[in-house]
């Protein structure tokens, strides 16, 4: 028995000794998350950034209400602007979901780390160029919504810094520069990989950059209205590389059969089985206000109800309304799993050129303006598969030099259906079509002209926010940003 005791004591002592040099002494790989990645490839970062960017041009409900493309039925949330008056939504997601990934692509490339391996992700120049162009696109879209924004000091991640806001004018200037430099930086090496928008076609990225510059230049029309001023010069400089046919339209392709990449309207109407939105009466009325009583695009844009009727829902009603069978929902063609979303279109470029010609920024006067206006209408109809060469000559549609600016703006607005932010911004700039708030508006001053800085800045970045408000004006939805002159 004594022997047994000794052996057991030895065994116990041994286990004690062993345990002090066992494999988890430094916890080995226990502190490795098996489900997430510590070293991301830059191409995957770009894919993610592009996936996350869709709300800027597609599927966004608030913007499509502000542009009065759609109306709310059973839930009255955004059409009366009540949510916007409380400082929602925040621009946080723009920085965190989209911009930080693009920033990291640039960072990894400049550091030359394995994440940016040019053999797998594209040449260093091309990677950086695409990231810069995408970044410029996102910043443009968000400065148009909020005005002055954290720009150069933003995206510092874990660094202990509170980013200062910069003026919209400064951001615009920088974006022109970024887009030009990035386009010039594109080289003949491997195109950017993981690019789900343009498939690594670097020539198309040049067009992306130029088209954005063209539209940004037009956006400054109230600040620099005259020929020879900055806007006109930038416009002319951007023209040669801008999109030149419908086949060059820059689209975001949603995927059929991939539930994580369905068109958001498909998700809303079909996956979630919601019937919360109908096409607005504003939209339907304008599209029907021509000699033909309709627009070839209208049956595409809107659900055709039994009896071959398209009925828009009054915008901004005070009473809740049930939509199905009473009002036309968004057209079924616009909400398939794989219905694409448009980032830049040939129609848009044409309307821009028409306006530039009318303004005298580019030569040719009304003749050139009409040419582009007509081409814009043709392109838009073709884009929706309802090409009709006669429609541009319909009553009220046909180019009229006296009402050209309004006509161009109205056709642009129609062409931008469901690209709410762009349509709302162009409405702010041109005032056309004439939109008025609905009876349920909680904002006495009318349709919002910007979005409010999020409440979280007031607690996390208060000093800089105060400076921005001092510079730009009160943090309300009614304060106009730099280019948005009365």
């Amino acid at each position: 028995m004594n022997k047994i005791n000794k052996y057991i004591a030895l065994a116990l002592a041994f286990t004690l000794a062993m345990s002090s040099c066992d494999k988890i002494s430094d916890f080995g790989d226990t502190n490795v998350d098996p489900t997430r990645v510590e070293k991301p490839s830059t191409k995957a970062l770009l894919t993610y950034a592009q996936q996350q960017s869709t709300g800027l041009f597609s599927g966004n409900q608030v913007s499509n209400m502000w542009a009065q493309f759609i109306s709310e039925g059973p839930y009255l949330t955004s059409s009366g602007y009540a949510d916007a008056l409380t400082g929602t939504p925040s621009y946080y997601g723009m920085y965190t979901n989209i911009l930080i990934q693009l920033e990291n692509i640039i960072k990894f490339n400049n550091a030359g780390t394995s994440e940016a391996d040019p053999g797998a992700n594209g040449s260093k120049n091309n990677q950086i160029a695409v990231a810069r162009i995408m970044k410029a696109y996102v910043f443009w879209k968000i400065t148009d919504r909020w005005g002055d924004l954290p720009y150069e000091q933003a995206l510092k991640g874990n660094e202990d810094i509170t980013p200062a806001f910069q003026k919209q004018e400064v951001i615009y200037t920088s974006l022109f520069k970024e887009l030009k430099e990035a386009a010039a930086q594109i080289d003949g090496g491997l195109g950017m990989q993981g690019d789900i928008i343009l498939g690594g076609n670097m020539a198309q990225w040049r067009k992306f950059a130029a088209t954005q510059r063209l539209l940004m230049a037009l956006r400054m029309s109230k600040v620099y209205p005259n020929a020879g001023q900055l806007a006109a010069t930038e416009f002319a400089a951007a023209m040669p590389d801008a999109i030149s046919s419908n086949s060059e339209n820059i689209t975001y392709k949603y995927l059929a059969g991939d539930p994580n990449n369905y068109n958001p309207w498909y998700n809303n109407y079909t996956v979630s089985n919601r019937n919360d939105y109908a096409i607005s009466k504003t939209m339907v009325d304008i599209m029907q206000a021509n000699g033909t009583g309709t627009d070839p695009r209208l049956p595409v844009y809107a659900e055709v109800l039994p009896g071959n009727v398209i009925r828009g829902l009054e915008y901004g009603k005070t009473l809740q309304t049930n939509i199905p069978n009473a009002y036309s929902r968004i057209g079924t063609a616009m909400r398939q799993q794989n219905t694409p979303a448009y980032i830049f279109t040939y129609a848009q470029v044409n309307f821009a050129k028409a306006e530039a010609a009318k303004r005298g920024w580019i030569p040719g006067g009304d003749a050139t303006a009409k040419l582009h206006y007509d081409a814009g209408i043709d392109a838009s109809l073709a884009q929706y598969g309802v090409a009709d060469a006669n429609f541009k000559n319909a009553t009220g549609i046909v180019y009229n030099p006296a009402t050209a600016i309004q006509q161009i703006a109205t056709q642009r607005w129609i062409g931008l259906y469901l690209d709410g932010w762009e349509a709302w911004n162009e409405w702010k700039r041109t005032g056309y079509p004439t939109l008025v708030p609905g009876p349920n508006s909680a904002n006495p001053a009318g349709i919002p002209r910007r979005q409010m800085y999020p409440n979280s800045d007031a607690t996390t970045n208060a000093e800089n926010l105060a400076a921005a408000i001092a510079a730009q004006g009160a943090n309300t939805v009614n304060t106009r940003t730099w280019w948005d002159k009365p």
């Binding site: 002494s25 430094d26 502190n31 997430r36 510590e38 660094e159 970045n461």
Partner: protein, 1041 residues
């Protein structure tokens, strides 16, 4: 000479007793003095010898006594040892007196035990006896009011819902404030392990009747040996072991009947139609609500409470066999519990087996094992009562109060009365159709179950190297498998849009824990008592969850995941591992049991911290002075009444490391675009992260009077917590995922007083009244927060009625002040941020609904900017008063608990008065109707969701939470032992018991304990759309063989 001779003869007798002594046989019966029941297993020893025996199952013994022996000693754990001088009779009957003092004498301190008199830390002990026979699912539900400093709040009546469990307050903001639970040496999984609407308290896998004792380590001196996991206190559970003696068999069983309590009274069909039409008329709209008449002429008047609630019938059985020889002790138990909740479809079924064995291989070497396996199956509908469910449109608690009473659950042909995905609108105008589903359909067609298979086991060996020096190794595992099955029907509710949804998920939690200790105890010169312990411990835990959701069911017959469905998407995925590696020790010293010093230390390493930051040091020290052991005290007159007077104090630093698995890492989440991979920045890790640090001070006093008849304990405690782990909000333009980085930032404290009195109030003849009274006064204050002390709002679903602010206690109720109803207009009066009164009428156009009292238009009230801190959500005092009365064979227990000092946001009331199509409480009869009328309820305006608090939380729905609750009443009868002797049974007790019988409170909701945010720290005392608590009547039987 004669004397000497006699001595000599006696001496001879002794040394030759085997051969020569004239032995005689003594027989007798040992009974309990309290109830007269026979006591089996009592040691009967001839005093001064080793000769002895034990009493049999019916308390009898027979012992051969050497002729010279004159005394017998009777010893039994929990009873005072009794010595009986032998007379001439061969029969000795003894009735033994239970010893309250010896029962609580030893406390389990985690890695060892200590005599209660020697303890210098703050430890509350609750005997397993106190948990016995309670109609609960998990033992901690029965702890309410049982120990000072320990707060147990049952948030609602969903079976096996983890109670809000706090020791000396809420000790964290964003991490868990739940104590560490250690069962037979292994820290076990806690919390709700269910993956669906079933509540799955992981502690429901323990059979309460297997528990011998619960020791709650409250201060740092007691808990520091658990280091980085001790900040919330440690609950050490010891399961039962066999006691020396013949095999004892015990059966405990009860049958219970469970009903909902204090449901708010609702409008019936007529009332609903009347008041809703009045509300319509007030906005100028014709009537839209009508009574529905069946073909037999009867009017539909549905009480949705009858659909949602029922009388639940439960039964519970537990059998155990135990015993021990000198070498081996064993305890084997089987438990079966089948409980029905008062909520339809809510059930809890547990089967558990346990074997505890200890064996002495040699005098030095011991082995032992505790082994338990549990199968727990829970079912529940979506009750809307678990954290995050409050605003679910399919929550049963909510459906029962919002559904219109003038529509039926079924059509006359037996089909469900529905309209699309919602309940049908009966005779009402379709414009006012409810968008809530028919609760009956959900109850009949949906399925939710969560099943646990749980193995908790420890194996140990200990070896006495030298006298007093023991080496022990113990290996434990806690493996928990949870299978969650959910089916949401295609007809109504959440399954309507996707046309039927089936979700199956599986969760595997594995933990092993290995402890090696070396302990030493000795006395030097019989007055210096020293004990020391050194240990090494490793623990490894992993969690793996996976599953999928299937949608679009192929055929109405299909109700299971394995059937045909259209789509499948992943659900319930998760994977994580963490490990601890720790070194610890303690040292305690006393001089003549008069002066005590103790210290403990732990160095904890945690895998989830960054390299170089993984280890932290924790420790505590304490001192005590037992004045009653001093000569001057013993000699003073005080000693006659005061039997113990001990002062003690402790200080220590412990941690809270519930930070998750990988918080130090910066990580990218994965996604796909078709087959193209995508990665997004998903977590901004903090490589400098550390545990939360809790510095605990405790000053205590233990007194006992009249030989322990009255025991009084008082403690002052102060827990200062810093390095709080918080998601520090970041400027939204920094590009930080979730807008926040986890930092150690912020401080708070909990301080207060605890008093505990155990006393035998009356002991006269056959009557005895004993009681325990305890009360805790506690103050919590947040002293700094992240981001420049920015407020921390905390949402309860769609609304935010709590806010944490520096200078206040956690989770203050935060609402817009209202000042009743304007008698002139019948409009609710709100108070805006400038202190100005603003009226609201839904009857005016949107832009002019808000008006100052003078009729000019006012800006709309904002739920945040116009709201203010209203009061504590955390109680500032609570306790219990437990009384046992015994007269002859009858016993009566009255257990009261009380709590208060807090406010409750009664959000449910906003719904009960909401002027949409929802049903209302009967009290809307008091609505404002005519100028000058003073009432609480504004003029009814159809569509108005603002005046009564649905749109934003208002002070009209805030009430004080003070209450006194008659938590338990039981009346028992023990059948006298004499009657039983022939039956083979040694003890039989029958009882009737009522749980949660009465609540005395001014709180108008179902129960002031009801809350919807579970164990979360920042939003307590919110009662929103929850099911109530139940009242249970049980009839039970305890039998011993």
């Amino acid at each position: 000479m004669k004397k000497n001779l006699l001595k000599f003869v006696l001496f001879l007798c002794l040394i030759t007793s085997v051969a020569y002594a004239q032995n005689r046989t003594i027989t007798g019966t040992v009974t309990d003095r309290g109830d007269g029941s026979p006591l089996p297993g009592v040691s009967v020893v001839v005093k001064g010898t080793s000769a002895g025996t034990q009493t049999s199952a019916n308390g009898t013994f027979s012992l051969t006594v050497p002729a010279g022996s004159t005394q017998l000693e009777f010893r039994f754990v929990g009873y005072k040892t009794q010595t009986v001088t032998l007379g001439s009779s061969g029969t000795v009957n003894v009735s033994m007196e239970s010893d309250a003092q010896t029962l609580g004498e030893v406390v389990v301190t985690g890695y060892g035990t200590q005599s209660k008199r020697d303890v210098t830390g703050s430890i509350a002990s609750v005997s397993g006896e106190k948990l016995k026979n309670q109609p609960v699912q998990s033992f901690e539900q029965a702890l309410a009011g049982k120990a000072a400093g320990v707060s147990i709040v049952m948030p609602n009546g969903v079976l096996n819902n983890p109670p809000v469990f706090r020791i000396r307050g809420t000790n964290s903001i964003s991490l868990s404030s739940y104590p560490l639970i250690v069962i037979d040496g292994i820290p076990v999984f806690t919390g709700d392990g269910s993956g669906n609407s079933v509540a799955g308290n992981a502690l429901g896998d323990i059979n309460p009747s297997d528990i011998e004792s619960i020791d709650i380590l409250k201060d740092a001196a007691a808990s520091a040996i658990y280091g980085s996991r001790a900040a919330n206190g440690v609950v050490v559970i010891t399961t039962k072991k066999g006691k020396v003696g013949a095999t004892r068999v015990n059966y405990e069983g009860w049958v219970g009947f469970n009903n909902a309590t204090n449901l708010p009274e609702l409008l019936d069909a007529q009332g609903y139609v009347t008041y809703k039409n009045e509300a319509l008329a007030n906005i100028g709209t014709p009537a839209r609500f009508f009574l529905m008449t069946r073909s037999d002429g009867s009017v539909v008047n549905t009480d949705w409470y009858d659909v949602a609630y029922r009388t639940g019938v439960s039964h519970n059985h537990s059998v155990n066999f135990s015993g021990a020889t000198e070498k081996t002790s064993y305890y084997v138990s089987l438990g079966y519990s089948d409980q029905e909740g008062f909520i339809a479809n809510n059930s809890f079924n547990r089967k558990i087996g346990r074997v505890n064995i200890d064996h002495k291989l040699t005098n030095r070497l011991k082995f032992g094992a505790n082994f338990s396996f549990t199968n727990t199956m829970g079912t529940a509908p979506n009750t809307g009562s678990l954290p995050g469910q409050a605003f679910s449109t399919v929550g049963l608690g909510r459906l029962a109060i919002v559904l219109p009473p003038n529509v039926p659950a079924y059509n006359e042909d037996g089909s469900y009365h529905t309209n699309g995905g919602a309940v049908g609108f009966g005779a009402n105008n379709s414009a006012v159709a409810s968008n809530y589903p028919n609760a009956e359909v959900l109850l009949q067609e949906d399925r939710n179950s969560s099943e646990n298979n749980r193995l908790i086991t420890t194996l140990y060996a200990s070896y006495d190297i030298l006298k007093g020096l023991t080496l022990k190794t113990s290996y434990g595992i806690d493996n928990m498998r949870t299978e969650n099955i959910t089916f949401q029907n295609r007809l109504q509710g959440d399954g309507f849009s996707p046309n039927g949804v089936a979700t199956n998920t599986f969760n595997r939690n594995n933990r092993w824990n290995w402890v090696n200790t070396l302990s030493y105890a000795t006395s030097i010169a019989s007055s210096h008592n020293i004990s020391a312990l050194a240990g090494y411990e490793e623990q490894f835990s992993e969690n793996s969850g996976w599953g999928a959701t299937r949608q679009n069911v192929s055929d109405p017959f299909i109700e299971v995941y394995q059937g045909g469905f259209g789509t499948i998407t992943p659900a319930g995925n998760g994977l994580g591992v963490n490990a601890f590696r720790s070194f610890f020790g303690n040292l305690s010293y006393d001089f003549n049991k008069k002066y005590f010093l103790a210290g403990s230390f732990r160095r904890d390493g945690y895998s989830g911290l960054a390299a170089g930051e993984k280890y932290g040091n924790f420790g505590g020290a304490s001192a005590g002075w037992d004045i009653s052991q001093e000569g001057f005290f013993k000699n003073s007159s005080l000693a006659k009444t005061i039997s113990q007077l001990k002062l003690r104090g402790s200080y220590g630093v412990v941690g809270n490391i519930n930070i998750g698995n990988f918080p130090a890492l910066s990580l990218y989440g994965t996604g796909l675009y078709g087959s193209v991979p995508s990665l997004g920045y998903n977590q901004a890790g903090n490589p400098d992260l550390k545990w939360e640090r809790s510095s605990k001070t405790d000053i205590g006093l233990n007194m006992s009077f009249l030989n322990g008849r009255i025991e009084f304990d008082a403690d002052y405690f102060y827990n200062n917590i810093d390095q709080l782990v918080q998601a520090a909000p970041q400027a939204p333009s920094k590009g930080v995922p979730g807008n926040s980085i986890t930092y150690n930032v912020g401080t708070m404290y909990n301080k207060g007083w605890e008093f505990n009195i155990n006393s035998t109030n009356i002991e006269k003849g056959n009557f005895r009244w004993t009681s325990n009274f305890n009360v805790t006064f506690i103050k919590n204050e947040v002293t700094s927060l992240a981001n420049g002390d920015a407020d921390l709002p905390n949402a309860s679903g769609l609304e935010t009625a709590n806010r944490t602010r520096v200078g206040y206690s956690l989770g203050q109720i935060f609402v817009v002040e209202t000042r009743g109803v304007d008698p002139a207009t019948g409009e609710r009066i709100f108070v805006n941020r400038n202190g100005r009164e603003v009226r609201f009428s839904f009857g005016r156009p949107t832009a002019t609904r808000w008006q100052y009292m003078d009729g000019t238009t006012a800006p709309a009230i904002d739920g945040v900017l116009d709201a203010k801190i209203w009061g504590n959500s955390l109680p500032t005092w609570f306790g219990g008063f437990d009384n046992t009365f015994r007269y002859k064979n009858v016993d009566l227990n009255l257990a009261l608990t009380f709590s208060g000092g807090n406010y409750i946001y009664y959000g449910t009331q906003a719904g009960l008065r909401d002027q949409r199509f929802w049903n209302n409480e009967a009290a809307v009869a008091n609505r404002w109707t005519s100028p000058g009328q003073v009432t609480e309820i504004p003029k009814l305006m159809y569509g108005d969701n603002t005046s009564n608090g649905s749109a934003l939380p208002i002070s009209a729905n805030v009430y004080k939470g003070d209450f006194l609750k008659l938590r338990n009443v039981s009346l028992g009868y023990t059948i006298p032992g004499k009657i039983l002797t022939k039956t083979g049974m040694s003890s039989v007790r029958v009882y009737a018991q009522a749980t949660n019988l009465l609540v005395f409170t001014k709180y108008p909701g179902a129960d002031p304990e009801v809350s919807i945010n579970g164990n979360g720290s920042l939003a307590q005392s919110v009662d929103r759309n929850s099911v109530p608590l139940g009242r249970t009547i049980t009839l039970g039987l305890n039998v011993g063989f």
